[in-house]
């Protein structure tokens, strides 16, 4: 078993004046046995980071340690890790058995042991009956399982996954996701999992690395990422529906007007003229305006989802989404009263987007 340590890791593509920095100064430690997701939008450097851990890409700066041993000069096969690729990367000219056993044969594991491990891996993933098939005769889901079996059969210290589920249809993806979680619980090997799907990252991970434009935004547990996003980027990226993130200006001490509208929120402990205020849609509520009350906005869109409905409000100068349980009697055009009572307030610096922790103190 192994922990993975990144120390100031950098990656530039190209050389000289044409060099582009794809990854900036990453430093974090993935603990032994943890399942860690690298989460971020397309092009943020997740695959690059994973490939550097695997040794498929050289690093331009910093160091990578596995189990306390520096590995960034080692060849990938000396790092004792297995990689599951997005397109599965099964060898088309070998049958499933040979695909799973290839890495073992290359490592000169003896025949009987190879066969034993191949069958064991196939049994775990329920693909014993296709061991004699060529990959092209398998369904997408089966190919994915073969790719996983190939990784498992090697019994490596570290598993690396690069968006392994993104080529599956939605139903199969959910199913495979839970199996992956079970598998990790069974094997207990350190796993690094690249995904751009926050749901995958949240459900699978012990810890999540959120990246944006080649930089680390936050490294923390799913709980932290969701409840205490370290930057405005994390706040906007994680959570569905998206967090309402609006500029807020102080109207009186500790009281801020959201997005230039008449809707105000009490934000104790913050001392700034302007902030960015984040409110999760599911933590806010709406109700029809009563007699003599002043409406905060009107309903613009209602999207029923079954167990909940997303209601988009027009606050006059900005839009605000609220998720309410079940179906709603609200219709487009209704004037409503918006309330953020009890909602966690996420305050960010308007320049730079860092979290203003003073607001969390209350």
């Amino acid at each position: 078993m192994a922990d993975i340590e990144l120390v100031g890791v950098q990656k530039d593509y190209g050389r000289g004046r044409k060099a582009v920095r794809a990854v900036h100064d990453l430093s974090y430690t993935i603990a032994d046995g943890d399942f860690v997701s690298l989460l971020g939008p397309s092009g943020c450097g997740k695959s690059t980071t994973l490939n550097m851990i695997a040794g498929l890409e050289d690093i331009t700066g910093g160091e990578i340690l596995i189990d306390g041993r520096r590995v960034d000069d080692l060849d990938p096969d000396k790092r004792d890790l297995a990689f599951v690729f997005q397109d599965y990367a099964l060898y088309p000219h070998m049958d499933v058995r040979d695909n799973i056993g290839f890495g073992l044969r290359m490592r000169k594991v003896d025949k009987a042991e190879t066969e034993r491990r191949v069958v064991d891996a196939a049994r775990r993933l329920d693909i014993e009956h296709v061991l004699g098939n060529r990959p092209r005769n398998l369904s997408g889901g089966q190919r994915q399982r073969v790719a996983l079996a190939r990784a498992i059969a090697r019994r490596p210290k570290v598993f690396l996954f690069d968006e392994p589920l993104s080529n599956l249809d939605a139903l199969l993806r959910d199913q495979t996701r839970s199996e992956l979680k079970l598998l990790h619980a069974e094997l207990g090997a350190t796993s690094v999992y690249v995904t751009h799907d926050q749901e995958e990252a949240m459900t699978l991970s012990d810890r999540i690395v959120v990246m944006s434009r080649g930089r680390l935004e936050q490294y923390g547990s799913p709980y932290d990422i969701y409840h205490r996003p370290a930057t405005e980027f994390v706040a906007s990226f994680v959570g569905k529906p998206r967090m309402n993130l609006l500029p807020a200006t102080r109207v009186e001490c500790g009281r801020y007007a959201v997005g230039g509208s008449s809707f105000t929120v009490d934000v104790p402990g913050v001392d700034a003229e302007r902030i960015r205020l984040g409110l999760r849609p599911e933590e806010c509520s709406v109700q029809p305006v009563g007699e003599g009350e002043h409406a905060s906005g009107v309903v613009k869109v209602v999207e029923p989802l079954g167990n909940a409905s997303d209601v988009t409000l027009d606050l006059g100068s900005c839009l605000f989404v609220v998720r309410i349980p079940g179906f709603t009697g609200l219709t487009v055009g209704d004037p409503v009263l918006l309330s953020a009572q009890g909602a966690t307030l996420h305050c960010f610096d308007p320049d730079g987007g860092a979290r203003l922790t003073a607001a969390d103190a209350r």
Partner: protein
């Protein structure tokens, strides 16, 4: 309202049927053209085969007698037991096979590197390889003759192999780069993780996957060197004479043995024909099976 809805399917039907008729005409025209082309291409070969099988006396009349009972295999038997024909045939086979092997071994290594590694001058190199193909052989024939003689390789099989390799290798590399580039890089990454070194990636992953393309290229290399006439004529005189040169020699100055010439022609052409058919099968297989689509 009801009128328009009633009208529409009828109009659509009319349009469809006229389109179908046009498509049918197109198909017929296409077939006829293909048939004509086939006759144009195959007729000389068929006639040559006929000439090699029937006695000349039966053919050189106004009404050729194509009675199957007239067929004689004497010409083939005679030719295939005549050392002055067998030696050039063996020469051609040796030169063809050696050239193919050398071209494929060197070519696949070169092509793999060009396909997989980005380096300065890569595009220029690829373009250069094509440009070389544009130089007419006749320009190089005399310099090559002088060069080979200086190195003592005039009229030797080795001289021919070296010369053919020089001409065919760039084309081989150029074709193979295309085949290797189509292999998904993630397969090779998987192989690296599985513990392959660069050579093993090539021999265990890239080459087996590009096999249809490699086979087609090898066949092309063989056909080119097997059927070359001009360079063989210039660079050999007696020892290393090849089949095409020997075949051409049946064309005497005053008299001509049509049967012998036709027989030699068929013997030269048959391997090319067979290999061309095989190559076609390989290429189609590569396309249809989608060798790399895991």
């Amino acid at each position: 309202m009801s009128a328009t809805t009633a009208d529409r399917p009828a109009a659509g039907g009319r349009r469809r049927s006229s389109r179908a008729r046009r498509r049918l005409l197109g198909t017929i025209g296409h077939r006829v053209l293909v048939a004509l082309l086939l006759v144009y291409l195959l007729a000389p070969f068929v006639w040559m085969t006929v000439y090699s099988l029937y006695p000349a006396t039966a053919l050189q009349t106004l009404t050729p007698d194509l009675d199957p009972r007239q067929i004689r295999l004497d010409a083939y038997l005679g030719m295939l037991s005549d050392p002055s024909f067998l030696v050039p045939m063996a020469n051609s086979a040796i030169v063809g096979i050696s050239t193919t092997i050398v071209c494929m071994v060197l070519g696949s290594a070169c092509a793999y590197v060009i396909a997989r590694y980005r380096f300065r001058g890569r595009q220029t190199l690829l373009l250069g390889m094509l440009t070389v193909q544009a130089v007419p052989v006749i320009v190089l024939a005399v310099p090559l003759f002088i060069l080979l003689r200086a190195f003592g390789q005039y009229d030797t099989l080795l001289g021919l192999v070296i010369t053919y390799t020089a001409f065919i290798l760039p084309l081989v590399v150029w074709m193979l780069v295309g085949f290797f580039e189509e292999l998904p890089p993630s397969l090779e990454r998987a192989a690296i993780i599985d513990g392959c070194n660069r050579l093993q990636i090539m021999t265990r992953i890239a080459v087996p996957l590009a096999a249809p393309g490699l086979a087609a290229t090898a066949i092309l290399a063989f056909i080119t060197s097997w059927s070359d006439f001009f360079l063989a004529k210039v660079l050999t005189i007696s020892n290393a004479t090849t089949l095409p040169v020997r075949t051409a020699a049946f064309q005497g100055l005053f008299a001509m043995d049509y049967t012998a010439a036709a027989t030699a022609g068929v013997i030269t052409a048959v391997p090319v024909l067979v290999l061309a058919l095989v190559a076609q099968k390989w290429i189609i297989r590569g396309l249809v099976e989608g060798a790399v689509k895991g």
